[in-house]
């Protein structure tokens, strides 16, 4: 298994390299001159030239690319064009808030989503199922920004129980993680339900029941494990998405996370930040996929790593 992990990690290198080249080219293809944007609405052509030099954009493209690759290899992504701070500090400052928010949102939404999914599958087509699926459909269709605003209006403005914006204490995490997790919980519920419904019709479940096992044991022990594989895949995907920083939730709750950083960066054509962020997002996805693959093996020992 260790060998497998090492092999997968080595496979990272070419993938990231390709992503790096693509993102560099795409970013430079975006319309709009970053020097002009950075110089601002009052600037004249001389100022734009000064800014262009300052940002290193006056060099030929291949040279810029070599600098980017050489820098990236040593972990130096340059300076943000907007704030002139190191890209690595910019991202480091924002990584933790987004990461913990994602963890919080995933934690509750997985527990609730799977709970609702299991209940719905076990009592299929009866009222717990209807209730659960109604909740799930509302969760998917209710837009996150509206949910966030409603939650903020009720719990922060009207009741004054929770703070509105920022990320300073644990209390700050409650509303954003609820907002962020709602859609995930809904997706998880639907996924768990359909996966469970299939499994519950399998032969081995009938066997387990025939053995005289109680229904809770059948569901929790025999069905759950087997139903978990597709659910886990979904979980990994959602986790990866959320780690990129949810733009909507971060804007509504003024969360100092990576989604807002990406929006700001794209607005100002902040090439170094966009490049580093896209690379980071790809890395996150690859790592999460790897973890998910390893977890498959733990859940179902019949899966072999090669």
């Amino acid at each position: 298994m260790l060998q497998y992990i090492v092999k997968r990690l080595l496979g990272l290198v070419p993938t990231l390299l390709i992503v790096g080249v693509l993102v560099f080219l795409l970013v430079h293809l975006l319309p709009g001159d970053p020097a002009r944007l950075a110089a601002g609405p009052d600037a004249n052509p001389e100022t734009v030239q000064l800014v262009r030099k300052d940002l290193g954009l006056d060099r030929p493209l291949p040279q810029q690319f070599l600098r980017f690759v050489a820098g990236a290899l040593t972990g130096d992504f340059g300076k943000s064009m907007r704030t002139k701070r190191q890209v690595s500090t910019e991202i480091a400052d924002r990584f933790a808030p987004t990461f913990w928010l994602t963890v919080c949102a995933m934690a509750w939404s997985v527990v609730f989503g799977m709970g609702i999914g299991i209940v719905s599958a076990v009592w299929r087509n009866r009222w717990p199922d209807r209730l659960g699926m109604t909740l799930a459909v509302s969760g998917i269709s209710f837009p996150a920004f509206a949910l966030g605003m409603v939650l903020m209006q009720v719990f922060a403005v009207q009741l004054n129980w929770l703070p509105t914006v920022g990320a300073d204490t644990w209390k700050h995490y409650i509303l954003p993680s609820l907002t962020l997790g709602a859609a995930v919980a809904a997706i998880m519920a639907r996924f768990t339900r359909s996966s469970f419904v299939d499994i519950l019709q399998e032969d081995f479940i009938r066997t387990a029941r025939a053995k005289g096992l109680s229904e809770p044991v059948v569901v929790a022990k025999h069905a759950l494990r087997n139903a978990l594989i597709p659910v886990l895949t979904m979980m990994g995907l959602q986790f990866g998405f959320l780690l990129g920083g949810s733009i909507v939730v971060e804007v509504v709750f003024n969360w100092p996370g990576m989604g807002r950083l990406l929006v700001d960066a794209v607005d100002m054509r902040d090439y170094p930040v966009i490049q580093a962020l896209v690379l980071l997002f790809s890395l996150e996805f690859i790592l999460i996929n790897l973890i998910v693959d390893v977890l498959y093996g733990l859940i179902n020992p019949t899966i072999r790593f090669r």
């Binding site: 319309p31 950075a38 600037a43 001389e46 003024n254």
Partner: protein, 513 residues
């Protein structure tokens, strides 16, 4: 022996706590603003917000009061030589920087030498590049020599970017890092900047103006979403916010603890028409468009009533502004003019907006619908910042410029007519140089703008600017639409914070009950 000390220590602690009593009731205020700060260095900032914030710790030789009137700040008085080239500035005495050093003429020299050196690559270079050199006459007198006469120079010094930085700090941190360690003479000292979250400043005890500042600190908190900004005002997490979205105004007005203020602005919104291209090369077409637009309706529908129909090219509040009047709304006349110009059935054209926010969307829709009434069919495109730069601001060849009708806005950050006219309507300001998106060229206006900069005589300047504005009104390269009102909210306990006509803030008198 040891136990004996304990009561003593406790006593000391209690005493200390008592002594600290009054200080514990710290008067800290929080301002919720609409976007994150780009820098704390006003010379390297191009956004009004970062410059407004920097006034917490920096001051210039001159400045603007809350009504945009020019006032001396660190300067005592000034003299201009007859040829308009040499400015001798007397400085205030007894002013200290936050690092304890004295404010003297060498600080003026250091600050302006820094920005006028192109190697420092500062974004405000252009505003000061006309300075030939800065000299120290004595500790309390500085002399600035210009390359060419420029009668609006004192206004440039009053621009929020023209601040005096501590030479000692500049030496210690260098040209780049000064942005992370600002040291000025302002009422507040810089404390901490968490780029993602807030910027904090604290009272500077050695401030030269006695009795100021009246609060212990300010937290500048960027809150991007406008609903969230309204929420933090309602919960009391912030005491002041700008801008308040028009649709939130009524909700916030209903709160007894909040005041909503609609302040006049010098932000003018207009529709520029590419005068080098058919059919806008015909003045009759341009006048027809002016007649076809109901500015009242634009103000009501798009700005929620928080705007007034534009009655001048250079808005009121900017020095040398002249009221030319609102173009009357007259559909019949517009149609007649179009027919005279050879377009009895109207024509099709592009309508671009420099912004892609909701207000711009509403404005362009109202315009589209009104132009439709006179037979002009428009295709709306809301340009994203990058597109705007590519298709309008950086377009190299004026002859092929694709811009036709262009909705955009401007505010003269120096509070003077030159910066309200020259970048927008001077023939040498066509893109990509500056923002004459109408590609307007008039010998007469060019001459007025040029001559006004050469003369230091106020009456003469006023005459030239009046002529320029009246000529532009008649030529109609623009359809002036509205002058915005600036909507801010503050807690009733807070006083002395004003939104200035250019969207900056004045908080010299900030106090909290």
């Amino acid at each position: 022996m040891k136990p004996l000390f304990r009561p003593l220590a406790v006593g000391a602690l209690v005493a200390a706590a008592f002594a600290a009593g009054p200080a514990l009731a710290a008067k800290d205020v929080t301002f919720a603003v609409a976007s994150t700060f780009t820098t704390t260095d006003p010379y390297d900032a191009n956004d009004t917000l970062s410059q407004a914030m920097a006034k917490s710790f920096y001051e210039g030789l001159f400045g603007f009061d809350k009504d945009m009137k020019l006032i001396p700040v660190l300067a005592e008085s000034y003299d201009v030589s007859k040829d308009g080239l040499v400015y001798t500035i007397k400085l205030k005495k007894g002013v200290k920087f936050h690092d304890g050093t004295d404010f003297k003429a060498d600080a003026v020299k250091a600050s302006f030498d820094r920005v006028t050196n192109p190697d420092n690559k500062l974004k405000r270079y252009a505003l000061y590049s006309n300075i030939a050199r800065t000299d120290v006459v004595d500790d309390a007198t500085a002399r600035i020599t210009l390359k060419t006469p420029f009668s609006a120079f004192i206004n440039n010094l009053a621009h929020p970017s023209g601040v005096i930085i501590s030479p000692a700090a500049l030496k210690q941190y260098g040209n780049k890092d000064i942005a992370f360690h600002p040291v000025g003479t302002g009422p507040f000292k810089f404390v901490e900047w968490k780029a993602t979250d807030y910027l904090k400043v604290a009272r500077f005890d050695g401030y030269w103006k006695k009795g100021y500042p009246k609060v212990d600190g300010i937290t500048w908190k960027p809150v991007i979403d406008s609903n969230s900004r309204a929420a933090v005002m309602q919960t009391g997490e912030a005491q002041f916010t700008y801008p308040v979205p028009y649709e939130m105004a009524e909700t916030l007005k209903a709160k007894p603890e909040l005041d909503i203020v609609a302040a006049p602005s010098i932000i003018v919104r207009y529709l520029s028409m590419n005068t080098q291209q058919k059919p806008f090369d015909n003045p009759k077409v341009r006048q027809a468009i002016n007649y076809a637009i109901n500015k009242e309706a634009v103000a009501k529908v798009a700005f929620g009533g928080y705007a007034t129909p534009a009655d001048a090219i250079v808005p009121e509040g900017v020095e040398f502004s002249v009221k030319t009047g609102v173009w009357p709304y007259d559909v019949a006349k517009a149609k007649a003019l179009l027919a005279e110009a050879g377009y009895p059935n109207g024509f099709e054209t592009e309508l671009w907006s420099a912004y892609n926010h909701t207000i711009a969307q509403k404005v362009t829709q109202v315009l589209q619908q009104q132009l439709q009434q006179v037979g002009i069919k428009t295709k709306i495109t809301l340009l994203e910042a990058g597109q705007r730069v590519e298709k309008v601001e950086s377009w190299q060849d004026p002859a092929t410029a694709p811009v036709r009708l262009y909705y955009v806005g401007w505010s003269s950050s120096t509070g003077e007519a030159d910066w309200a006219l020259r970048p927008l309507l001077y023939s040498e300001s066509w893109p990509p140089k500056l923002f004459n998106t109408a590609y307007y060229k008039s010998e007469r206006v060019d001459g007025d703008i040029r001559n006004a900069l050469l003369t230091t005589d106020k009456a003469e300047k006023a005459k030239l600017y009046k002529d320029a504005q009246e000529t532009i009104y008649k030529d109609a390269p623009w359809a002036p639409l509205v002058t915005e009102k600036l909507l801010s909210a503050n807690n009733k306990k807070l006083s002395g914070v004003y939104t200035m006509p250019d969207g900056s803030f004045n908080f010299t008198d900030v106090d909290l009950k």
